[in-house]
Amino acid sequence: MSDIKPQSAQDVCDALADAKRDGVRVEIRGGGSKALIGAPRDVRVISLAAITGVVDYDPAELVLTVRAGTPLAEIEALVASERQMLAFEPFDHGPIFGEASGKATIGGVIAAGVAGSGRVTAGSARDHLLGFTAVSGRAETFVAGGKVVKNVTGFDLSKLFAGSWGRLGAITELTVKVLPRPRVSATLAIEGLDCRASCSAMASALGSHAEVSAAARHPDGTTLFRVTGFEPSVEARCAMLPQLLGGHGAMERIDPTVADALWRDAGTGVSLHGEVLWCLHVPPGRTPEIIEKIEPLGARWSLDWGGGRIWAAVDSDAAPVRAIAQAAGGQAMLIRAPSEMRSTLSAHHPRPSGVAALEARVRRAFDPDSLFETERFLGEETTDAD
């Protein structure tokens, strides 16, 4: 089916009213950088790529209001020009699928809950979305949240919509918190730690006064620690780390230009080659046992979030990875896979029946006619139980 490209928020509302009238299911899409996640499907796509532009940006208030289809790269450049950043460090999925980066939109990374290495200390998309305007599956425009950094007025629908994959409504405009970009960002590295030692070093660092803002293990085995802030503080904390982690081996400070690439590889799974790419979110204490179990499957892997996120690439027989994550109290999302596999294995980790039923009721609260239920996420109840 061909894409529909609304030119305004009112167009989005009309397009959903059309779909409702026609009884056609729709997929809300930003730039399409994550379109290969989930089951193959032939549906009417409503692209928000033309719903762009900055509505309001006041750096001193730490808030930015933009239209959802605005390219992520454009927003990052804008806030960088004010020495600020999106602290959840969203990234572009394009390169994971062998495509150029640049397609990702702010609405897309929010709707998919995308967060980078800083997530472990600074929070995820959910923690930085302050409010939004959306069109529900009733083809109704509504607002939720606010445009200030501190707000508890009404249900916190921002949390619910971040990571909802466009299945509750089409976000047309959103307000995010922005934060100052650290003046200095230093990366320290220890070579050659096995998974268990690396996890132990990361836990020590994250639980210490060195206040590392991120900790990851590169696929090549380098364990990375990031220390950010003002220069005197960064220097003092960088001096603490070797004392704290001395038992784990020598610590080296990495050149910032090299460091960026290392963090990207460790934090986004982009350098892990293989047909199948998993992203596991797990209790970090269980990570060593998970790695011990997935390595025999031929997995290449990296760790982020102090071991709480595992990127794992395998060549085939992907199903055991999910079972291993589940047994350790975590979840595994299928990011990249051949289409046959995506037709049978859900991208989202399945939830227990009680939670799944509650989620379905919540989806129906926003989308009573199952307009957004495109079978992209398999095995989830998609129509009203009544």
């Binding site: 009309d14 009213a17 059309d18 006041d58 001193a60 208030e61 472990v120 929070g123 995820s124 959910r126 923690d127 083809a139 109704e140 425009t141 509504f142 607002v143 606010g146 200030v148 950094v149 501190k150 707000n151 508890v152 007025t153 009404g154 249900f155 629908l157 949390k159 619910l160 971040a162 990571g163 909802s164 934060l179 100052p180 639980g207 210490s208 006064h209 206040e211 802030g229 003002f230 005197p232 503080s233 904390r237 979110h281 797990v282 970090p284 204490g285 996120r309 109290g329 975590g330 979840q331 980790h349 939830r351 009680g354 939670v355 509650l358 989620e359 919540v362 609260a365 926003f366 009573p368």
Partner: protein, 497 residues
């Protein structure tokens, strides 16, 4: 008192004895309170202007009991009001005459602490401060610190998404909770989130936090704990007026500094605090700013110097840096005593809680002065300056006929003003009963109906904490039927896109 609660259901009141018997069968021993005198302590929470003894109080001590109580009430159509420590400032735990008050105070256990994963798993009745006390021996703490932290429970913090003076840097409750065990109104027990970041599926945990007891009853909470900062230092700054103090705050943030805390007090609040605790606040200033930095000593020392410079550039009349812990605590003593200090100026005070874009502060303070003159009631302001969260304290005398109503009307005007300048009705106290009828100032009927449909997904019979948050509760079936015209075709015959 201008806010009316739902009319008690006569049929429920008539079967009170049967309800008591059923509750005693589920919660044995002293866990059911039904004597009128014993119900009195539960008649209000931190919003003491509103009082209503509950029909009865049930104090379960296991999740199975909570589930059985809710299941029974669900099948019998009996309303339930959950309560933690009863410190809500918005009436979130205000009882109803025809509802069971479900007190979670017996859930007092710290279940597990894992320092490698930096989490604590606790029962909901554990106080906010007790979490920190349980982990401080190993150099950790729980970051959100509402001013009631000695008494308020973590379950109540989850329900209200509580904040505190450090939340600009460390976030609210929602940013520090990883998982909950939740009992739905029909008795079903679900676990949302867990001990890892970002679980699969919809972020139901995110919407349960801050849901003010309308979606479920929390029976277990997993929170993140953080290493306690090595040092903390504060700087006390006096400015001629709020404009210049506000400009200083804006420049601090523009220069990339996110302090651990940044509190402002206006002239009436400064004078009240100084008269009360005598900590040496300057009395010749129009606005006082306390800025606290935490972290390694090198960081605190560097940033204190930076802030001192910024304050000087913005015309600060007083600049005093804490050189030891005693001085730092003295700076805070006045701010922490601000509420009781202001309370000495009048028989009663009413604490408001709006958030505004910080740049509008001078304007909002001016308009507030006009309102103060209009209503003939004094007002003092304390302000979480970093995040724009304003706490005006309205002075009144409840024994003077009409003054409470006037104070409430004054408060409502302040909150309308907050919304008008681009802010919100509540930054951290919650909507509860107090701001319920002001919700239409911020949200359209469509917006509120959408929020209420979420309520229906959790509690379709609307039995859990009714009368809070929503000015009108529509029956869920009615909301499902509502036909909407907002998306109708403008030009049905013209091909579009």
């Amino acid at each position: 008192m201008s806010i009316t609660m739902p009319v008690p259901d006569i049929a429920t009141l008539q079967k009170r004895e049967a309800i008591i018997a059923a509750m005693r069968a589920i919660v044995p021993g002293d866990g059911v309170i039904d004597e009128i005198d014993a119900l009195r302590p539960y008649e209000s929470d931190g919003l003491t202007a509103y009082r209503q003894p509950p029909m009865l109080v049930v104090l379960p001590d296991t999740v199975e009991q909570v589930s059985a109580v809710l299941r029974w009430c669900h099948s019998e159509g009996v309303k339930v009001v959950p309560r933690g420590s009863g410190t809500s400032l918005s009436g979130g735990a205000l009882p109803l005459a025809d509802a069971v008050l479900l007190g979670m105070g017996k859930f007092k256990k710290v279940i597990e602490i894992d320092y490698d994963e930096r989490i604590a798993i606790v029962q909901p009745g554990v106080t906010n401060l007790a979490i920190t006390q349980a982990v401080e021996g190993r150099g950790f703490y729980y970051a959100p610190d509402p001013s009631s932290q000695i008494a308020c429970s973590i379950g109540g913090n989850v329900a209200e998404n509580s904040g505190g003076v450090h939340c600009l840097k460390y976030g609210l409750t929602t940013n520090n909770v990883l998982g909950v065990e939740l009992v739905l109104m029909d008795g079903e027990i679900v676990r949302l989130g867990g001990r890892h970041l970002d679980p699969a599926g919809l972020d139901l945990l995110g919407v349960v936090v801050g849901s003010e007891g309308l979606l479920g009853v929390v029976t277990e909470v997993t929170v993140r704990i953080l290493p306690k900062p090595q040092t903390a230092r504060a700087i006390l700054l006096g400015f001629p007026d709020a404009e210049r103090a506000g400009a200083c705050v804006a420049q601090v943030i523009a220069e990339g500094i996110i302090p651990a805390g940044m509190e402002m007090m206006d002239k009436p609040a400064i004078h009240a605090a100084e008269a009360f605790v005598k900590v040496g606040y300057p009395l010749d200033v129009g606005a006082l700013l306390i800025v606290e930095l935490d972290g390694p000593a090198a960081e605190c020392d560097h940033l204190i110097e930076e802030i001192d410079r910024i304050a000087a550039e913005n015309g600060a009349l007083t600049r005093r840096v804490s050189n030891n812990e005693q001085e730092r605590l003295a700076f805070w003593a006045g701010r922490k005593a601000a509420f009781p200090a202001v309370g000495r100026l009048a028989p009663d005070y009413y604490c408001m809680d709006g958030t505004i874009p910080r740049r509008r502060l001078p304007d909002v303070l001016r308009r507030m002065e006009e309102l103060s003159t209009h209503y003939g009631l004094g007002v003092a302001n304390v302000f979480h300056a970093g995040d724009g969260n304003l706490h005006p304290l309205i002075l009144y005398d409840a024994n003077q006929p009409g003054q409470l109503d006037k104070a409430e009307e004054f408060g409502n005007d302040i909150l309308r003003l907050c919304v008008e300048v681009g802010g919100v009705l509540t930054g951290e106290h919650g909507v509860g009963v107090e701001k319920r009828d002001l919700m239409p100032e911020m949200f359209s009927e469509t917006d509120l109906n959408q929020q209420q449909r979420l309520k229906c997904a959790f509690d379709p019979l609307l039995l859990l904490n009714p009368g809070k948050v929503f000015p009108r509760l529509h029956r869920c079936a009615e909301l499902g039927r509502v036909h909407v015209h907002g998306g109708q075709l403008r030009f049905p015959d013209i091909p579009r896109f």
